[in-house]
Symmetry: C2
Subunit: 343 residues, 2 copies
């Protein structure tokens, strides 16, 4: 039963590409779930080997995230390319400590796009000042894209951690969020150490000056003062600034994920450990027939966990009543006949 | 029916304050919803004046957001206060363009905490360099807090826009997301204009230099060069920098919200406009009794919209089966007797 594949062709009509893309995404999610989930529950195959599967947290939305990574990467390369070429062409209108022409243009672009802005090379004409404004404002869509994706990621994780926390009521599962946070934190530490050592060894800074430069770079503060003035230093800086600021951003992301995880855990613990009372039964009885079936129980618990609002349920209920032509509270083939006839 | 208030006292046991707080939040959500939602649906009070209520998007999580705003505000004031006092005390170890001692300390703190870092006043000793590092790193928790809250906000909005989009299938409702975005964008424009005019009029900059300084401030780039060098300029800067960077952040947030809204709309349109087929009916039949009740229909649609995963449903189903002692597929008072007896 429940052959998702077979129903799909019916869905694809003459619709715009955007809707088709969305449909594919939703379909992917359903298919992936279908592969991992229904287990001794629908009832027609008492599969005794069936364990509760580990949530497919990583692969579930893998397609969406990888396509985002591709877009962000293209944007970054295009941005760095165009920025570097433009500022190489107007390199005579930049003032400050200069090394190699091409390298300085790339270095200036990176220092600008990460909003570090040391001030060791600055625009020195109206043209370059306006170009710098354009450069820094045109990175904003990328920042917006990244923040939006981070929010999506966390929203998806909320679902994943809900499931994980429910599993936890039954069995132990690993903690990926803490692991990812530690990894990002470790990466940031390495960036701090590598940057400090480099500045001391190659740029010949004092240790405090080196630490100060590292701090002011990773936080994108960039007061100026001593930074990367040698050719080797600027080659290093181009990679190190990008990697360092990304590390800090990842630390933030995974802290937020840790919070999401612990909150979902708390909600699940609260709601699932709560004993059902007679009043709960009354409240759960959606169709008012005095009986609480499995589906009504599930909706009640979802509502209790704040996963779905009363209003959304009301509106779906309305939808159901419109479909239920014979008003018997059950959606049957006869209710659909009018529709099915069209296909 | 459904007397939420009466069931609540049963829930409050001897638990830790964190759990109680969470419980109160969940309860608040449920109570608020209960006030606005159940309407001609449970079936025992055919209220003919009942319109579909406008989603309570703003007030629903108002408590949580306002407590966050309070925390963020306290943090900001404490941060500015401590930062200003500390850098006032070590003002002799800062170099650069100075005006009034107190004002410069506040100005330096704001320029540092927003990571603008013009470089017009910079640390000039090991002590002040390390203090500046501490200052800029201690703003990171606030940034993390804000980003986390922004993600929560967007996740909640996802639910709200789901409901709004479902309403739209029936009736027209206003578009708050676009309105908020335009407001933030307008605020940002005003900040840009006010900043530019001020820099031209008071700091006597060229128009291009003023625009360049505004750009490099709002994006927190802060190359240095010409910025706020007068006393009046720095008083203005303290407020303008904070307001300006917040405006830009709000523009980002509301762009993300617009995306969320349009995606939810697309999902709802796709799923609700889709015709049910016989295969859908089979898939929706959770308990496998050959009938699709209202609750099963709702779960099927929620699953279809990607709002709840198959796994979460499986686990709740398991929960149900454990509670359903007599295995008749219905949760009745007799199933609960063992539990109810304990209360």
């Amino acid at each position: 039963m429940a052959n998702t594949e077979a129903t799909e062709p019916l869905l694809l009509g003459s619709e715009d590409p955007e809707a088709q893309k969305l449909r594919r995404q939703l379909k992917n999610r359903r298919l992936r779930r279908a592969r991992s989930a229904p287990c001794n529950i629908i009832g027609d195959s008492p599969d005794t080997n069936c364990n509760i599967p580990e949530p497919r947290s990583e692969s579930l939305f893998g397609n969406i995230h990888s396509s985002f990574r591709k877009v962000a990467m293209y944007y970054l390369i295009l941005y760095l390319g165009i920025g570097s070429v433009v500022f190489y062409l107007v390199r005579d209108q930049l003032k400050g400590l200069k090394t190699n022409g091409v390298l300085d243009a790339i270095y200036f672009t990176v220092v600008t796009m990460t909003t570090v802005g040391y001030g060791d090379i600055v625009p020195d004409s109206n043209l370059t000042k306006l170009l710098a404004c354009a450069l820094v404002f045109s990175v904003m869509p990328l920042v917006g894209l990244i923040l939006g994706k981070a929010a999506d990621y966390l929203a998806e994780k909320q679902q994943v951690y809900l499931v994980k926390a429910m599993h936890k009521m039954h069995q132990q599962v690993g903690q990926r969020a803490r692991y990812k946070f530690l990894l990002a934190f470790f990466l940031l530490l390495i960036m701090i150490i590598v940057g400090t050592v480099f500045l001391v060894a190659v740029e010949k800074l004092e240790v405090v000056d080196a630490l100060y430069c590292v701090c002011s770079t990773l936080t994108t503060l960039g007061y100026g003062g001593k930074s990367f003035s040698t050719e080797a230093g600027r080659i290093f800086a181009v990679f190190w600034i990008l990697a360092g600021t990304i590390s800090l951003a990842l630390v933030f992301l995974y802290i937020a994920e840790l919070n999401t995880e612990s909150r979902e855990k708390a909600i699940v613990k609260l709601v699932l450990s709560r004993k059902m009372t007679i009043l709960d039964l009354e409240e759960a009885d959606l169709d008012g027939d005095g009986k609480v079936g499995a589906a009504e129980f599930i909706i009640y618990k979802l509502k209790d966990m704040g996963k779905i609002s009363e209003e959304a349920i009301s509106l779906l209920m309305q939808e159901f009543e419109e479909l239920d032509v014979d008003q018997d509270g059950i959606l049957s083939v006869s209710d659909l006949t009018g529709q099915v006839g069209n296909i």
